[in-house]
């Protein structure tokens, strides 16, 4: 009971942090129901619980109870609800387990509510109430305490990058090919998702190969290399600021003109669009997706591709945070059309694309895994209808979800990053194309 009293106190005291935007949106839903068919959860489960408006209503009912005159006095009259253990558990399941904050409902909302924003505001409240699911919180804690969300040490990172550099040199047949570290004055500071050095380093070699072919002046940081920001997902603005500040400080320390973000939707969104607000400043460098750089290289003739190297029918999955919320929409298409000989769009696409089901930090929350895989059904249907053999997506998080969908729904597809596809089609300065069929071949 004491815990619930604390929760009440916390909720009442939150009034200090209610912004005008939140106060307006939380009272705006007209319950028209248009959002229902836009949501991949509702399409998969066909249950009113999964209508986006239902989710926001849970937040609204709490808001009305604690922050409106009528809600405080005659709560039942306005549908206001007390916080108790049951509704808190329900709220947590709804806000963390049944929404990927993909924002597809927002573009279908008759009054233009950004429902993804509201869900994150609700997550912020649950941070205060200490309700963030364990796996997600653990990723945030690791990032805050160790500098990256997988607790990779500097020594481990350097060892891995040296190994990858040898592979790169073998791959391009040039011992001058490098993976530069902590290089002050480099034009581009490239940042990673820690899962790349830890478990999936082929994507690092792919991008290093592209930088090599484009003769880019680039570097990685051995300490502040993690582009991800799971505090964006958890709703913990304080941790989000800490994590974002490290990247910003690193880019400024090295004097980079461009901070390039690996293929990771929420990482791009965090540093490009959220971090300036979190930190209250404009940056001296540009934050760009690596896709934007690759497109520049192609436009400027700095790299050339042979699309015949990728002849299988290839489709593209648009990550929500990169595309719908991030505004990076066309460059990936421009690149892929030059890198594969048979590109097919899935439908709907671009900002109307369906979430893969793994967004919002859902992949790190095992307790919702079963529903996450069911909610991927809309994506599965899209992939089947596109008839492609390869699904490219510029997001490591989406890749894991797509790999699981591939397995669970027997899609028989390959899932690849865009960088890997480009690297396979790259015409090297020597004139050779050297598909990465066997590397890294050496023993570490």
């Amino acid at each position: 009971m004491e815990a619930i009293a604390n929760h009440r106190f916390t909720l009442e005291s939150l009034s200090k942090s209610i912004t005008r935007r939140l106060a307006i949106l939380v009272n705006s839903c007209v319950h028209c129901g248009l959002c229902s068919d836009s949501c991949h959860y509702y399409l998969a489960e066909n249950n009113s619980r999964f209508i986006p408006a239902f989710r926001t209503d849970r937040l609204s009912s709490l808001f009305r109870r604690y922050h409106t005159w009528l809600g405080r006095r005659i709560p039942f009259w306005v549908g206001a609800k007390e916080v108790d253990a049951l509704t808190l558990k329900e709220l947590t399941d709804t806000i963390f387990g049944e929404c990927t904050m993909c924002g597809r409902c927002a573009i279908n909302c008759s009054i233009g509510m950004d429902i993804g924003f509201l869900i994150r505001e609700a997550r912020k409240i649950l941070v205060e109430l200490d309700q963030v699911p364990r796996g997600l919180q653990s990723a945030v804690d690791k990032a805050v305490t160790t500098g990256n969300n997988m607790a990779i040490t500097e020594e481990e990172l350097i060892g891995t990058l040296q190994w990858l550099e040898e592979e790169l040199q073998q791959e391009v047949g040039d011992t001058w090919a490098k993976i530069p570290l902590n290089k002050a004055g480099a034009r581009v500071l490239y940042t990673l998702n820690p899962r790349e050095p830890k478990f999936f380093p082929l994507s690092i070699i792919a991008i290093a190969k592209i930088f090599y072919a484009a003769d880019e002046d680039w570097t990685l940081s051995s300490t502040n290399f993690d582009a991800t920001n799971y505090a964006y997902y958890s709703g913990d603005d304080q941790a989000a600021r800490t994590i974002a500040r490290r990247l910003v400080d690193e880019a400024e320390k090295l004097g980079a003109r461009i901070l390039a973000v690996t293929e990771c939707g929420h990482a791009y969104r965090s540093i490009r669009w959220e971090a300036p607000n979190w930190l209250g400043k404009r940056f001296d460098f540009q934050a760009k997706s690596i896709l934007e750089l690759i497109a520049e290289y192609l436009r400027e003739g700095r790299i050339r591709l042979d699309p015949s190297a990728n002849s299988k029918p290839t489709t593209l999955h648009d990550p929500c945070n990169l595309v719908r919320y991030g505004g990076v929409v066309e460059v990936q298409r421009y690149i892929l059309r030059k890198a594969v000989s048979n590109f097919v769009e899935m439908h709907p696409n671009r900002e109307r694309n369906f979430c893969c089901g793994g967004g919002g930090g859902l992949l790190s929350m095992s307790e919702y895994a079963e529903l996450r895989l069911k909610a991927g059904r809309a994506k599965v249907e899209q992939i089947r209808q596109a008839g492609a053999k390869v699904v490219a997506t510029p997001c490591h998080n989406c890749i894991d979800q797509l790999m699981e969908l591939n397995k669970n729904y027997n899609l028989r597809i390959e899932v690849k990053t865009i960088g890997e596809i480009i690297a396979d089609a790259l015409i090297l300065p020597s004139g050779q194309i050297n598909p990465s069929s066997d590397y890294p071949s050496k023993k570490g």
Partner: protein, 105 residues
């Protein structure tokens, strides 16, 4: 929480099939986990990878970097992905009885 039946008792796993208590792992249990993963038969190469991960976890309380995995087993990276189609984390670490690694996996 979910359970898997093993030798007449229930072993607790999370909703994605990772063991809750890594100390409950055994080679026999790994075979059961492998079936759920769609691996019909664990070969010597599977065991080489799993045993290394297992020992590293017992020593360091975390999964090894994939570089060490390649170095210590002598296997090329792509071969490890072939052995464990769900990848080193969701595949090999799960079968070696590790809890689910943190982060984007």
């Amino acid at each position: 929480m979910a359970f898997i039946e093993f030798r007449g008792k229930k072993v607790e796993v999370n909703e994605e099939g990772f063991l809750i208590r890594p100390e409950e792992w055994s080679e026999e249990l790994a075979k059961v986990l492998a079936e759920a993963e769609g691996i019909d038969e664990l070969t010597d190469d599977h065991w080489k990878v799993m045993n290394y991960i297992r020992q590293y976890f017992l020593d360091h309380d975390i999964a090894p970097m994939v570089r060490l995995l390649c170095k210590e087993t002598g296997f090329p990276l792509r071969y490890i992905y072939q052995l464990f189609t769900s990848g080193p984390a969701r595949g090999a670490c799960k079968l070696a009885g590790l809890p689910k690694p943190d982060g984007c996996v």
